[in-house]
Symmetry: C2
Subunit: 207 residues, 2 copies
DNA sequence: CGTTGACTTGACTGATTAGTCAACTACGGC
DNA sequence: GCCGTAGTTGACTAATCAGTCAAGTCAACG
C-alpha cells in the first residue's frame, strides 16, 4: 500500500473526468467507484456524499493542473497582451488535447458544471463559480496592466474582462457542442476587435 | 375532454421547463409526469422514451415561441444593425423574464442542453445543435446584409457571426451562473468593438 | 504482544429508475 | 346501438440509485 491511500485521489480523478465527459447528474456513485477501482464503502469513508466529492474534485483540479497552468499563462515575464495571447493559445491546445485523450472536445469543466448545477446543487455551483471568478479576475488584472502601460485604451477593465471571458467560454462551449477545437482558434480576431487592437492569430495545430 | 388530448402538450411543456431549470439528466420520467399531471402509461403512449420527449420538447419550443420571436427580431423592416440591437435587447428581456417566472435566470435552454448532452445523447444534442446553428445563420445573414449596405466593414461574416454568437451565449450562460441578467445587458459595447462600430446600449430594466 | 485507528470489503436497505402491459373509458363513424 | 380506436389508468418489472454498516485487514506504536 502506498504511504497514503491512493483511493481518495483516484476518486477525485475519476469524478472529475466522468462529470467532464458527461455531466454531474448523469454520473452515479457506482459508476465513479467502478471507474476508480474503489468499493462503495471506501467512497463513503472519504466523502460524505456524491456532491462533496464533486466539490473536492473541482477544487483539486483547480489547485493542481489548472492553477499551475494559470501561473504559466499569466505569471510569465511577458508583456500583458502577449500573456493574453498565450491564454487563448493555451485554451486551443486544451481543446485539442481533450479531443485526443477523450475522443471529443470537452470544453471547460468549470463552466459546464457551473451552468448545469446553478440553482440546483448550491455547493457545487458555488465552487465552480469561485474558480471561474478567479480566472476572470486574472483577465481583468492583465487588461488593467496593459492599459496602464498604454498598450490599449480601456475605460472599464472589469466589464471588458467579463465580456472577454464570456467570449472565451462561449467559444469553448461551442467547441464542445460541435466537437471542433477550431472554434477557439478562430477567436483571435474577435478578441482584437473587442479590445480595439490587433491580436496575434493563434498558432494552428502544433501537434 | 378537449378536442385533442392535452396530455401530449403538457408533457412537452413540463419537459422543457424541467430540463431548462435543472438539466436533462437530472429529470426523471416520474417527475415529468407528476409535473404534467399525466400518468406514466400516457407518457409512453405518446413518446417512446425520455430522450424522444426531450427532442420533441426542444423542437416544439423552437417552432412556437422561439421562431416567432426570431421573426420578430430578424424579420422586421428595420435596418440590419438595428435588428441586431433588438436581438440583444430581446435576450436581456428573456433573462429578466426567466428570473421573474422561475426565480432565477435560466439562460439559453438550447445552449445548456447542447453542452450537457454533447457526445452523450446524440439525438438530443443534434436537435439542440440544429437550433443553435439556425440562430447563428440568421446572425450571419444579418451581418452580411449590413456589410452590403456599407453599415460596417467585414471580411468574413460567417466567422464574425460565430464569434458574436459565442459572445451572446457565453454571456447568457454567465447570467445563469451568476443569476444576474445584467451580464447580458452589459454586452452592447463589446459587440460594438467586435463589429468595429458604435452599438447602441441595451435599454435598462423596462419592467 | 496487544491495542489502536485508518482503511477496505461486500452485503445490505429502501427508494427511485426507465419502461411494460392488460384492462379500461369514451368518443366518432357507421 | 355497436364497434374501432385513441387515449387513460395503475399496477407491475428488473435494474439501478444513494447511502449504511458490521466485520474485516493491516501497519504503526507502545
Amino acid at each position: 500500500m502506498p504511504p497514503v491511500s491512493q483511493a481518495r485521489m483516484k476518486l477525485l480523478e475519476a469524478m472529475l473526468e466522468a462529470m467532464w465527459e458527461r455531466s454531474y447528474a448523469a454520473i452515479s456513485v457506482d459508476a465513479i467507484c467502478e471507474r476508480a477501482g474503489v468499493r462503495k464503502g471506501s467512497f463513503y469513508h472519504f466523502f460524505p456524499s456524491k456532491c462533496a466529492l464533486a466539490v473536492a474534485a473541482l477544487e483539486h483540479k483547480w489547485q493542481t493542473e489548472a492553477s499551475t497552468c494559470l501561473d504559466e499563462m499569466f505569471g510569465s515575464g511577458l508583456p500583458p497582451l502577449e500573456r493574453l495571447s498565450r491564454v487563448v493559445d493555451h485554451w486551443y491546445e486544451k481543446a485539442r488535447a481533450s479531443q485526443l485523450e477523450h475522443g471529443r472536445v470537452l470544453g471547460c469543466p468549470y463552466f459546464s458544471i457551473a451552468c448545469e448545477t446553478a440553482g440546483v446543487e448550491p455547493e457545487l455551483a458555488a465552487m465552480a463559480r469561485k474558480i471561474l471568478d478567479g480566472f476572470q479576475d486574472r483577465l481583468e488584472r492583465t487588461l488593467a496592466e496593459a492599459r496602464d502601460r498604454g498598450d490599449l485604451v480601456l475605460d472599464d477593465p472589469a466589464a471588458t474582462a467579463a465580456c472577454l471571458f464570456s467570449l472565451l467560454e462561449g467559444a469553448s462551449t461551442q467547441a464542445r457542442i460541435h466537437d471542433d477545437p477550431e472554434r477557439v482558434r478562430h477567436l483571435a480576431p474577435a478578441i482584437g476587435g473587442l479590445l480595439g487592437i490587433d491580436f496575434p492569430p493563434v498558432t494552428p495545430a502544433t501537434a
